[in-house]
């Protein structure tokens, strides 16, 4: 068989109807002249048929099982988030361990959490870390220990990554790892297989902390997550944000509650808010239900804007 190997990829796409008009023309013309490629196209189609036909009968149990489960759930139930003082919540901290400010947008995180339905309040906690106080925006943040064993580089092979690694750990040291990609996309990757309370793809009412640099002060604190690319988007638009205590004064953190921000100290007492200066590094922690769709969630991170 004559090897028109260069055209095979095109033929394969052609058999899937995934060619442009000009490509189609090219292929048609070639096929008219080349018997071997005509045969190859047929083989591609045969292979498709062999692999493709969904054949196995779907068991009734599937439909029945699904409907039983969904009927016992309310669509909105899963959007409930708990109060900041709920001590039974598991805590996850997501910390940006190092980041390189490239353009104006880099090293800045805007997370937008959109709350569909209204079943409760969302608490967002911003914790200002003491140790970041003197850090200039150009400096790289100290590297944290990353649990590489849970990272699968093959997952990232096709995914652009920038120098942002976020490590998530909860109080019990369950670890999720988040890595940010270029174009300000971050992906969350985790393995919670050991935890009986939730499976690895659904995290229930967890506390997440993001550390980010403040680039500018505007009217709105916006936190955004896009889960698994367009899979899921959570956006919380917050207005009337009360400024928070300067990072470096330890123990204070910012809570976003619905559409306002309260500053609490380490004892959960409300304290007087103060400015977050531009260039400050803040930890943002929030409560909420997040669906993590393995192998990754894509967090669309844009910019953090904190209002004064």
């Amino acid at each position: 068989m004559k090897e028109c190997t260069k055209i095979y990829e095109l033929l394969s796409a052609y058999s899937d109807n995934e060619v442009t008009d000009s490509e189609r023309l090219l292929v048609d013309r070639h096929l008219a002249a080349c018997k071997d490629c005509s045969a190859m196209l047929e083989m591609f189609r045969d292979i498709s048929d062999a692999v493709s036909e969904p054949h196995m009968e779907v068991p009734e149990a599937l439909r029945i099982g699904v409907m039983n489960r969904v009927k016992s759930e309310s669509v909105l139930e899963n959007l409930v988030v708990s109060e900041a003082k709920d001590k039974h919540r598991k805590r996850f901290g997501i910390m940006l361990t190092r980041f390189v400010p490239i353009a104006a947008c880099l090293a800045v995180v805007v997370l937008v959490w959109q709350f569909w339905g209204n079943t409760g309040s969302i608490d967002f906690v911003v914790e200002a870390p003491v140790e970041m106080m003197d850090m200039a925006p150009e400096e790289a943040a100290p590297e944290a220990v990353v649990d590489e064993s849970i990272m699968d580089d093959a997952v990232w092979a096709e995914h652009e990554v920038m120098d942002m690694d976020m490590d998530i750990a909860d109080a019990d040291d369950e670890r999720l790892h988040m890595r940010a990609g270029t174009g300000l996309y971050a992906a969350l990757y985790g393995d919670l297989a050991g935890e009986a309370e939730y499976d690895a793809t659904y995290v229930d009412q967890e506390l997440f902390t993001f550390r980010a640099e403040v680039l500018e002060l505007t009217d709105v604190l916006v936190l955004e997550f896009n889960y698994n690319y367009e899979f899921l988007e959570a956006i919380l638009l917050v207005s009337n944000i009360t400024p928070v205590r300067h990072p470096g004064i330890g123990g204070s953190y910012l809570i976003v509650r619905n559409d306002y921000i309260t500053v609490l100290d380490i004892n959960d007492e409300i304290i007087s808010p103060e400015d977050i200066p531009v260039g400050a590094i803040v930890d943002i922690t929030f409560f909420g239900e997040i669906l993590i769709t393995y192998p990754s969630i894509i967090y669309h991170v844009t910019a953090i804007q904190i209002v004064e």
């Binding site: 394969s12 036909e53 196995m56």
Partner: protein, 198 residues
């Protein structure tokens, strides 16, 4: 299912009509189940994962933005659940290619009849079996993308987004997977050069 109809159903479910979800299940269960089955090669696991996929889709329905078709969204969810499952599993046991039927007999996973050409049926059986084996011999990268395409019918672009690849990579991997299969079949003597199945 038409996208408009899908979206209407979704709206109903989000507004509280849980029963409307069943139509979405019925419309998509074949592909979801077979995708899970192709990936896990185990009926019980496929059933569990398919159920999980639908339930999670239901739970997240209010977040579904309608940028893509619901079914594509659902396939991505299914795929990710399967991957997650397989990763967990590979830490423990080897993946079995066989499953147990009702009599608890071990049966090889089969691809049922392609086309009904009696004079070719013996050859077809042979080819099917060889194809199964050859699919197993593909690298994971190639197998996944081929399965995605053949089972769900997603476009190259949709697959690209789901698997976090470029459309070009999807295109070339599918082509390479098919070529490998053809070569494999030839090697095994099941697919003679001039053999045609039409």
């Amino acid at each position: 299912m038409e996208r408009e109809i899908e979206n209407k159903l979704i709206q109903r479910v989000v507004n509280g009509d849980t029963n409307a979800f069943e139509d979405l299940v019925l419309a998509n269960q074949k592909n979801v189940y077979n995708l899970a089955l192709k990936m896990t090669r185990n009926e019980d696991d496929a059933l569990d994962l398919s159920q999980e996929a639908f339930v999670k889709a239901y739970q997240q329905l209010s977040f579904f933005r309608g940028d893509s078709k619901f079914s594509v969204w659902l396939y991505r969810l299914t795929y990710n659940l399967c991957i997650d499952f397989l990763r967990k599993q590979s830490k423990q046991t080897t993946v079995s290619l066989d499953y147990k039927d009702d009599d608890n007999e071990v049966v090889s996973f089969e691809i049922p009849d392609l086309r009904d050409l009696p004079e070719d049926s013996a050859i077809r059986k042979e080819m099917r079996k060889t194809i199964e084996q050859s699919i197993e011999e593909l690298t994971e990268d190639h197998r996944e993308v081929l399965i995605m395409r053949e089972i769900t019918g997603m476009s190259y672009d949709e697959i690209a987004v789901t698997l976090k690849l470029s459309a070009g990579t999807v295109k070339s991997r599918i082509a390479r997977a098919r070529i490998k299969l053809i070569e494999s079949l030839k090697e095994k003597g099941t697919y003679p050069e001039n053999f045609r199945l039409t």
